[in-house]
Symmetry: C3
Amino acid sequence: MNWCAQTGGARLARMTELTLTGIAAKIYAPIAALPILSPHGHCDPAWFAKDSAFPDPAALIITPDHYVFRMLYSQGVPLEAMGIGQPAGTTDPRAVFQLFADHWHLFLGTPSRLWIATMLREGFGISEPLTPETAMTIYDQIDAALATPAFRPRALFERMNIALLATTDAATDPLPHHQALKGSGWAGRVIPTFRPDTVLDPGDARFVAELGRLEEVSDTDAASYPGYLAALRSRRAQFRALGATATDHAIEHLDTAPCSTARAAELYGKARAGKIDDAEAAEFHGHMLCEMAVMSCEDGMVMQLHAGSRRNTNAQVFDSFGRDMGADMPVATDWVRGLEGLLGRCGNDPNFTLIAFTLDETTYARELAPMAGHWPCLRIGPPWWFHDSVAGIARYFDKVVETAGYQNLAGFNDDTRAFMSIPARHDVWRRCVAVHLAGQIARGYFGMGDARDLARQLSHDLARSAYKLHLP
Amino acid sequence: MNWCAQTGGARLARMTELTLTGIAAKIYAPIAALPILSPHGHCDPAWFAKDSAFPDPAALIITPDHYVFRMLYSQGVPLEAMGIGQPAGTTDPRAVFQLFADHWHLFLGTPSRLWIATMLREGFGISEPLTPETAMTIYDQIDAALATPAFRPRALFERMNIALLATTDAATDPLPHHQALKGSGWAGRVIPTFRPDTVLDPGDARFVAELGRLEEVSDTDAASYPGYLAALRSRRAQFRALGATATDHAIEHLDTAPCSTARAAELYGKARAGKIDDAEAAEFHGHMLCEMAVMSCEDGMVMQLHAGSRRNTNAQVFDSFGRDMGADMPVATDWVRGLEGLLGRCGNDPNFTLIAFTLDETTYARELAPMAGHWPCLRIGPPWWFHDSVAGIARYFDKVVETAGYQNLAGFNDDTRAFMSIPARHDVWRRCVAVHLAGQIARGYFGMGDARDLARQLSHDLARSAYKLHLP
Amino acid sequence: MNWCAQTGGARLARMTELTLTGIAAKIYAPIAALPILSPHGHCDPAWFAKDSAFPDPAALIITPDHYVFRMLYSQGVPLEAMGIGQPAGTTDPRAVFQLFADHWHLFLGTPSRLWIATMLREGFGISEPLTPETAMTIYDQIDAALATPAFRPRALFERMNIALLATTDAATDPLPHHQALKGSGWAGRVIPTFRPDTVLDPGDARFVAELGRLEEVSDTDAASYPGYLAALRSRRAQFRALGATATDHAIEHLDTAPCSTARAAELYGKARAGKIDDAEAAEFHGHMLCEMAVMSCEDGMVMQLHAGSRRNTNAQVFDSFGRDMGADMPVATDWVRGLEGLLGRCGNDPNFTLIAFTLDETTYARELAPMAGHWPCLRIGPPWWFHDSVAGIARYFDKVVETAGYQNLAGFNDDTRAFMSIPARHDVWRRCVAVHLAGQIARGYFGMGDARDLARQLSHDLARSAYKLHLP
């Protein structure tokens, strides 16, 4: 039985290759079928609001997933050949899928291969392996399934046993799909997340235009710095009204030294006029992260911080294809000094929760675990992006737990826009949790009773509490 | 039988949960009961000089241990509630102990839990697990034990099989307790360590006042830079006369570029007048570490360097509670460039030993192991602070040994002020040594004979030789 | 049977201590005897051109190997006592070998011990362990073997089953030995590698003198910047004519921001006149790495980049003994920002291959794997120098594969000047490959069929394709 079988019962993806034995299997069994909480990710709310069929297998699996197309690009496959950045209808999805199958061996050893293989097997009931030869048969099987009601987004959401899914939405997004969902009567819980990067960072080329959209959608005059803050507060409230419990922020170089209100107003004026230099833009951005923390103390929204990704490092690809084309790269991050301003202002506030995500694994043991083991506000987010993998999860637990314990972790989130991979991603996490906890028993840290309790927390409860999700 | 049983025989703590099997067990057996050398730590010499009973269970286990109270603070427990920074007698130790027991689950997966559980079981013979319900019963058991002669510091020292324990003492400390110990006739070896941070770093707010104390206690006029150096030399000699074999130094950002004597004298003048800026203070501090190395070449004292801890990062906690409140955080450290000045001056001197401790594990394989595999003076200290844990020790061996070998390591030290946890800490190390060496046999690096020899060295001999301890 | 046995059949070194069992043994068996590709290393081409006997055991094993003598130096053995930097004939090689044997225990747990022990056992058929007592007997055995035809370089090359070996040669080297080899009729493939560091980096004290040699050997006037580029192009062509497929570059601090041609010409003028400051020298060096990449796009030579080694950190040793004395130390490296200039210019060119070697393992997962999983040109080199070890290789796979896959790796190279250790080094790699792949099967990433295929690629095929080796 797989989770695409329309038997009514929710069924989690299996990753049968990662066979758990002994203690690990015993820890895993009771958490395997827990409902999925997905408090951070990049699914499109329109999917659930409109509940339309996904167009074709390539559009489901390949073109939206930068994990996938970056690997083909690294081996010389042009992005154009995968239909990336091409006008709709100009690329044959069958040809794209065949190209993907021809390069499927590139993914050996990567979590993408685990996720996609699991999705094909458990989601679509396809038992034969993907090869260049089987590609078109498998394409047809997926294509046929997508045309059925059982593969509409809402039906999948339910069958995949998702209890809650948060999308990530620009601060300037009027959230029409979330509005529609609220009035739809559908029981699935899909909530927005407030992501204001483009209206906080004057170094972003879209900043000035986005300010205009912010004013419009918030119906607030943001000509002055106080007006700007009011517009942001207004948008946060609107997000909360649609169920949002969290904000999300990305920054390459972390520095959150706050500046005075007068200085902030001055920088805002320059930024709004498009006359701010790079250093000033960074100063303003860091200051505004502090302001976001202050607003979180006020309104209780959980603040997520994704630091250390250098965006768009391939200028040629950026010029031709735009953002999110697989050329974002991690850089070293200094969490201790970088968060000093923000934590100095809000770190001891009992109403404040900050979830930190890093791409610099050296900071797990050196910085984030010691910080989370002290600051009341701080929770360590799960392994992010390139590190959401079997070995990456093992390294995470190895390096954070002994100093931070488990209660300072934020559980798991899948961070994906590949909707149908969600069960596989949570299942990899849960299996890795079981392996880790079995190791802790062997290391003498605790026994089976504690391990089972922690397994449930890591798979479900910690995400719920860290994100302040109020679930039935 | 446990080590609190008054059977006369020294007995090391057991950490029964970390069951060693096969080869590891065979390697562990002969080292389990070796005498403990504790050449670096923070016990109070007054305990042994006065040999008074410890006041109560909270004062023994909770309030002096920042590992413990920082974790409760991270989950929202105010420091005040644990009696931290409160006037003596105003906080009920029973209430503090109950609070600790209520949050005991936070420590799952942390070495603190291993150490404390072992201490309760082996030190106090308490077999029932600590829970909110058992807290008061266990409190009473500990309290009753502490009132008996067998739990006086000297009796514990002997029963815990400690062959030598070094304390850490300010350069300005007149060392009355060490003086008293010397004349006491007690056979226990407790020696001081020369820690001059506050009189070397003009960036420390206590610098000027401490200079005054330095002059007084050394009976030396330190108005001039040569006088200052003479005062430091005098104090080093006084420490040595009381058994000290080592100095200890902490610095956040490592930079040891030496300056000329004229420049040093100029900076000293400014520092003494309280008119030195941050950059100059750092320059002077780095220079003075070189001077300490030069003095070590002269007098043979082993130089310990603890680099990369950013102190007091929580201003609100610092303002209310002072130092050592769990808000010190590790930062990235550059050992190669940072030690260039000091090693250029003293690194090839056969009379010089430098033991380096890092909180930046990335430097194990990248910097410290290659450096220790070249410089005659350099020994790598054991995993420090947050990294003194089962996984932390495994990472340490994994990353240092293949490049530095074993003879460039400094063995183990417990670095603790939690006196009764010392046997448990050494036992965790010894068990982890056994696990590591069993792994090396499996990896093909050597056989059982070499493993047994190395186990003994790592548990005992290397600490003795690195710290130049002259033991019977 | 060992590979020194003159039975005619090629036989790879065994490292019998690292016994592989179960799945790992099954993966290892078919790759154990694959021919050795050694596309990067530091053997002397004169050995093969002249085919003279190696002079004595100390000159074979100790004096050319900085891994070896640095360890003895770290424990107080003077370099002079090992004959380092001493006039030929003034040091008794027997005394040097005895000294080495007396300190053989220092190498416990290091790959040097594995390599040397394997070489003694498999290369020389010596079964008794090296000890202070057996040293002279073993010396005699080696010495006697070296005098026989079977231990001449060409015979060893063939018996060690080396299919190709690349040396590393200065850009100014007239390559007489490679010329001689080409006309020798010997079937062994020994090719040069173009290493132009001293003529690209004006910060190198040898720069101006080396420019003179460059002009001479290329017969090109390099007075002007265009002339200089022409001279470099000419030398690259000469290297290619002798079989070279690759260039090699070392840099401590990676920064490849290109400058304009006018600026480059200005800096070249200053450098040639010996009037360039440090910042300008670094700017020029970084720019010239870009130019090397551009030339690689033109001529197809594979570009190797070894970044992050700080050279000659022990001034006293450097002054007395010169370069390569074991005092080169790794430093943290920023690959993402450091390569931005070079990749922006050449990163998407299908004719360009860049192989990156790091001494900063933190960049495996954080930078190199994400970069290699995107940039078409980039391949990750195998663990380098201190990290070419059992645990180092395990960390490498653990951290690169999940993001980069296997096809973005460059296979293995031994990077050694210790000729007779080559089989042992490749064998350690192959065994570690087998252990890694067995782990991947357990982790569920793939099955035995894929593992066997990947084992062959990692041991042989990936090196061939990454280095564009055209082999029969």
